[in-house]
């Protein structure tokens, strides 16, 4: 059982460790204060190499969604609801939700992140309706 999904860059590991602990952290530029996702070497606003890892609130809103009607990955049988959410801190990220809430999915609907176990052996932030 791996503790995290495959990493793309050395900047990814602290994020997945924070997710494993149930408190997702993102990099924040110490000069501009801008949060960034995905993790990376520099702030796109300032190109500053200085950053800190800061826990996010977990509050977000839905900006789009799609339902997979075919099974693409063993972990996610169809129908599988994927959402794009805009975090309170600014970045957009992809997540997923339980399909049974599909009738209540709307643009800008508020969601919260929860931490659940992925079949591949790591924890993952999942979106649930906030209201």
């Amino acid at each position: 059982m791996s503790q995290q999904p495959r990493l793309y860059s050395p900047y990814d590991e602290p994020m997945w460790k924070s997710i494993a602990q149930g408190e997702m952290k993102l990099q924040r530029c110490t000069e501009s204060g801008v949060f960034r996702y995905p993790p990376g070497p520099a702030c796109p606003e300032t190109l500053s190499l200085n950053y800190e890892w800061v826990p996010i609130s977990g509050n977000a809103k839905i900006i789009s969604w799609t339902v997979f009607h075919r099974k693409y990955l063993p972990a996610y049988p169809a129908p599988h609801l994927v959402v794009a959410i805009e975090l309170e801190e600014g970045p957009i990220m992809v997540s997923y939700m339980d399909h049974d809430v599909i009738d209540r999915i709307r643009l800008d609907a508020p969601v919260k992140l929860e931490y659940v176990d992925h079949p591949d052996g790591y924890r993952i932030p999942k979106a649930v309706l906030a209201d």
């Binding site: 995905p38 075919r70 693409y72 794009a84 957009i92």
Partner: protein, 394 residues
């Protein structure tokens, strides 16, 4: 404001012309592959298309001094097979290959550039989604999306179109107009894989969703084949070809900011990039959207058509569904779109088949699907945030 671009002085007009085109027999290759045969690999399909393009141009291989190959074949190996030792060459996708050919000719690095593309994606069972997705391990989007189950290009366009659909209150029928229109064109194209099956809006709606709101017929085909073009310096082309098809203008603008987290798609719908590219391509060609006789749009998925129409000024923001219904994009429509059937009905040649359809329409003399008085054909693509366009003309 980038002045030289904003005022339209990007001079890409009439540097070069297409003098030869070639393609494989998509229908026969499809039939054979379904029967378990493997007629060619990627290099073989490219070679068949290259020989046809060379014959169409009526020139000898020794005149070719530039070689650009598609992303599915290695440059050096393709050059080895075709026995071309160019003064300039490389590997690029369809529209970038056209741009690079024009740039090589403009700079004097080459005068006659062969563009060759071959793909055995169906016989090789290439996966565009799921755990074995082609090249997926190297793409940021697969690393930052797949833990949540988002792995296919189609799903990215599904996310994009779902937001668009919700913002403008569209129905599934609105999107279905594109697949229906392109299938009409395919029915007049003997080289289209889907030429024998008409598609009504009810058929479209009866087909299953793949990644909602996209249904089966919103997705491109997966097939084997090859395409080639010979692009020549314009003054030389006039001496060689009876009817050179000039590249009248190019336009390009990219959006990379927040690309992995889908900002350019979901916040901007690629529109600012398309508007800049539109300004360049129309300025270079000295025309506007109203002068376009046929429009060819990279259509791995049907939503591309909506974003192209709005981004390039054929209609206002949020108006594409209405525009398509009112104007008509299929046979007898006022703005013919993807007159070969596109990727969803003719063949999925990753934008390469659109380039040769532009040439065929401008040359004229096609049978039933010839667009009347076709003087200007525009190509538009928005792949991965690169908004690009070419205008071809007589």
């Amino acid at each position: 404001m980038q002045d030289n671009i904003a005022d339209g002085s990007t001079d890409t007009s009439d540097i070069s012309a297409v003098v030869g085109i070639g393609h494989t027999d998509y229908v026969d290759d499809y039939r054979r592959v379904r029967n378990g045969e493997k007629p060619h690999d990627s290099y073989g399909y490219a070679t068949v298309a290259f020989k046809k393009a060379l014959a169409d141009a009526g020139i000898d291989r020794s005149e070719v001094d530039g070689l650009i190959v598609g992303p599915t074949t290695a440059y050096e190996r393709m050059g080895e097979i075709l026995n071309i030792d160019p003064t300039w060459g490389g590997q690029a996708d369809a529209v970038q290959a056209v741009f690079q050919a024009v740039m090589a000719i403009k700079s004097g690095m080459a005068e006659v550039v062969a563009l060759v593309y071959g793909n055995d994606q169906r016989s090789a069972a290439v996966q565009y989604g799921g755990p074995q997705a082609m090249g997926g391990q190297s793409f940021l989007s697969y690393v930052y999306h797949s833990p949540w189950g988002l792995t296919s290009q189609g799903a990215l366009y599904a996310l994009m179109f779902q937001r668009y659909k919700a913002l403008w209150d569209l129905s599934d029928k609105d999107l279905g107009q594109v697949a229906v229109g392109q299938r009409q064109w395919a029915s007049l194209n003997p080289n289209a894989i889907m030429s024998k099956k008409p598609l009504t809006i009810d058929d479209y709606l009866a087909a299953p969703y793949v990644a909602e709101p996209l249904r089966l017929n919103d997705y491109c085909l997966i097939n084997d084949g090859g395409v080639a073009l010979i692009i020549m310096e314009a003054s030389r082309a006039r001496k060689v070809a009876q009817k050179p098809v000039y590249i009248r203008g190019l336009g390009r603008s990219d959006l990379n900011h927040q690309a992995t987290s889908l900002g350019p798609r979901l916040v901007d719908f690629y529109r600012p990039a398309q508007q800049k590219a539109a300004q360049q391509v129309y300025s270079a060609a000295g025309i506007g959207p109203k002068d376009i006789d046929a429009l060819l749009v990279y259509d791995s998925f049907t939503p591309h058509i909506f974003f192209a129409l709005e981004g390039f000024g054929f209609c206002e923001q949020g108006e594409a569904a209405h525009f398509i219904a009112q104007t008509g994009i299929g046979v007898n429509g006022k703005l013919p779109i993807n007159t070969h059937g596109g990727h969803v009905s003719e063949s999925y040649m990753q934008g390469w088949n659109h380039q040769i359809e532009a040439v065929r329409q401008v040359r004229g003399g096609l049978d039933q699907r010839q667009v009347t008085d076709c003087r200007h054909v525009q190509y538009i693509s928005d792949v991965a945030g690169k908004a690009m366009s070419v205008i071809y003309g007589a």
